[in-house]
Symmetry: C3
């Protein structure tokens, strides 16, 4: 797709400053190394600034101080990475579907469909659903009975939203995601098997939430599972029943939060990080890659229990064997070298 | 949705006893802390009993011995949690679709569709499929050629069941799940690449199985992959080709069983627990969170190799460095402190 | 399904040799232990050869040297496992859909649909899509605007391919997979929340790639995410934005590659193996199960940091406690037993 923007409009939109008064037409956005004439680029990180001298972009978004290194037009922003983020949507080639209901969509008579919404091909909307203005529902997506979807949402193709789910405004849900599936609740039936506990709660998703492809958010057992405003979830994330995730918390791929855990605001769960059930995690906690929360965390900070040093597999196996004997090793030292505290 | 049940009917259904002969109308089910008048609640765990005195529920399911603490109606059950599980379905708001085939469903002429079944919008049923009475197939779900689905199943929306799959009675499969995809079988082609091994087996799923959202069960390479009666799988579970899972085994989210492993009955795989391929695990084995089976397990019990103590990331990194030197550390001790056995 | 092949045709197809000149009809393929009359079997591994004497197959593919142990027809191949792989497709019961566009498919007028393609029920093809000859698109699958799919692909049911994706020839994508979802890119907005970075790149998938069920490949932030020719990905694999995966690399279930990592050719990531972002991994690297790459790998070989010895959970917990004190333990030894190097 072809884009043509006046650089002056970009600068105005970003609230940035422009050194040179030259206005040019910008036709693309690119990294410093790959930019060509017509592109706008940006310094996301000061260590990338060394690419400036060879950068062929027509303009670069940068903090003040790098103008000597770049021969093109300098666009000054105190937060170039944020400016890039804001500008990125001007170059998004994702289709904005025209408003309307595709003839192949199956929409219950009593559903409430707002203005300027788009329901794609083969979308299925059950009874009592409400979809507010400006939202787009992608092809082959299912919205269960009585669920409500706020304004300006982007629900992509092949998403499943079960019944009685509440989704706020400006929420994006990627393909393959499932919202409101049954929590994993079963009681031993006394005969070696399981009695299903029907999951009666819903899911309450705030505003400006993004949920990645193939991620799942289970409905609550009795009360709702809650995803706060501004939460961002990568692909393959699992939010179990009754979990509460605080505002603006971010979780990378394969993060998993077990049932009834309560995660604070502005937390970050790195890839494959997790939290056991029924635990509470304070605000501003970071869990590093492949670590998982095994006890309540009351204090902001970074916590780990995963991520041992990578080494050749042969060496690993020898060290791993010793791990299995750590208790013995420590005991044999106790009373000889180590004090009682140990 | 509005529910109205006579408490006496509930007590009869549960085979429970009721202290007071008052019959009341029950309109909801709730936890002890959140219940309001009209609700029935339950003591799932003795440590919750302290909430009884303030509980506003009209009735509480409890073992005998707590009646002094509760001013409402006591419903006695020797297994209150199981009673709650059984009762939960009375309050389930999931839609039971009316029988019939939605006009938008695409159903092969030679498919056998039982009485009182429901095929939702855009369901696709290929040739030779058999669906027994009382089963419900959700919107946009695909059932491949010659697969059979037993009685009273609940296959939710956007599920994919490949060809030649056999599913028992009373099976629930949640959205995004995939049953019968190809096992991961490839032979080196001698030129640095891979020759696909076509996966010729099927999947055999027993009765009363539940499979969570976005979980996958691959078809066998030659023989079938087998999921026993009563197995319950959470979301994002992976069952590879040729695996056998014994009756009533439970697996939490992200559990993964590699090819040709054989898991016993009544096992429990916690979140992210796994088993390497071609191993056999006895009955009644528990694998703790993020642990994985690296050798055959012949004896019932709980096994681990994951879950180190959570600590501040700085401290973790220092300990992790030492881990990489464990062999050296142990060797330096050998002959000085530790005996030969070490 | 019933198969009937002349053994002589099989031998010709495989370029194998047959000892006995008897031609027989082969009706199935099976393992040595389960084969019955009419079946052809194979020795995948020399240690299976002990099953030969009791094997009831009509013919067995084997290397020379085992003919004394088998009373049926010996088919000689220097690579029996590869021969089996090649032959397996003769016994595949997956439906090859007839060419044509199902009446329920929704296909944009300007889409280019090649000869001998099959678009299944409820397939949705957006504007500008190109699908080359011989490809099959399964039921309820979505192909976004301007994406191109090469020749002889098998895209299964309920797959989502976003806009501007390029897929090569002979690619298989299993159900529930998502190609081209947004990379996980957000900039802190300076107010505690996140500004979405629109993901402007695409995904470039080579030839002969296989992508498993519920796997996801995110689109690039600016440039493309790239999957090389011959790459094979199991189920639940995550390829983040801007990742490059080299030719013929294989990844087992739950493998995850974080953003902008560059993985070499002919690598193997075992189950749940991962790579942190922005790292480069050389060709011919193996990452063992549940290990993950924490630093660049420049040399071929096998690397680990996951997989401690499995033990009874009680014992594990005691050892794990000591792990948390490793630094202390090591320090207390330093200067007494260990040299400075430690």
């Amino acid at each position: 797709m072809a884009f043509e923007y006046h650089l002056s409009d970009i600068v105005d939109f970003l609230g940035a400053d422009m050194e040179k008064s030259l206005d040019v037409v910008i036709t693309g956005i690119a990294s410093l190394d790959n930019a060509i004439g017509g592109d706008i680029s940006f310094i996301a990180n000061p260590r990338h600034a060394k690419s400036l001298s060879k950068c062929r972009a027509s303009a670069v978004i940068m903090p003040r101080g790098y103008e000597k290194d770049f021969s093109g037009i300098c666009v000054y922003s105190s937060h170039p990475y944020l400016s890039y983020a804001k500008l990125s949507k001007w170059f998004d080639t994702a289709i904005i579907s025209p408003s309307g209901v595709h003839p192949s969509a199956v929409v219950a008579n009593d559903a409430s469909i707002g203005a300027n919404t788009s329901l794609g091909p083969n979308v299925v909307i059950e009874s009592g659903v409400s979809i507010a203005e400006g939202s787009q529902i992608g092809a082959n997506t299912f919205i269960g009975a009585r669920s409500t979807i706020g304004k300006d949402c982007r629900i992509k193709s092949n998403v499943s939203v079960y019944h009685d789910i509440t989704i706020g405004d400006s929420v994006t849900i990627h393909s393959g995601a499932v919202i409101g599936s049954d929590g994993f609740g079963f009681a031993p039936n006394g005969k070696g098997g399981w009695e299903k506990i029907h999951q009666l709660g819903g899911v309450l998703i705030g505003n400006k939430v993004e949920i990645g492809a193939c991620s799942t958010v289970d409905r609550g057992a009795i009360d709702d599972t809650v995803i706060g405003d501004g939460v961002i979830l990568d692909n393959h994330v699992m939010i179990a029943h009754n979990v509460k995730v605080g505002e603006n918390t971010a979780m990378a791929a394969f993060a998993g939060i077990a049932g009834s855990a309560k995660i604070g605001k502005n937390c970050f769960f790195a890839g494959d990080a997790a939290c056991l059930g029924h635990l509470e995690v304070a605000d501003n906690v970071q869990i590093t890659a492949r670590s998982y929360v095994t006890k309540p965390i009351k204090k902001a900070g970074s916590y780990s229990n995963g991520g041992l040093p990578l080494m050749e597999s042969k060496k690993w196996r020898r060290n791993a064997v010793i791990f299995g004997k750590l208790e013995k090793l420590a005991k044999s030292m106790t009373g000889k070298i180590l004090d009682k505290e140990y």
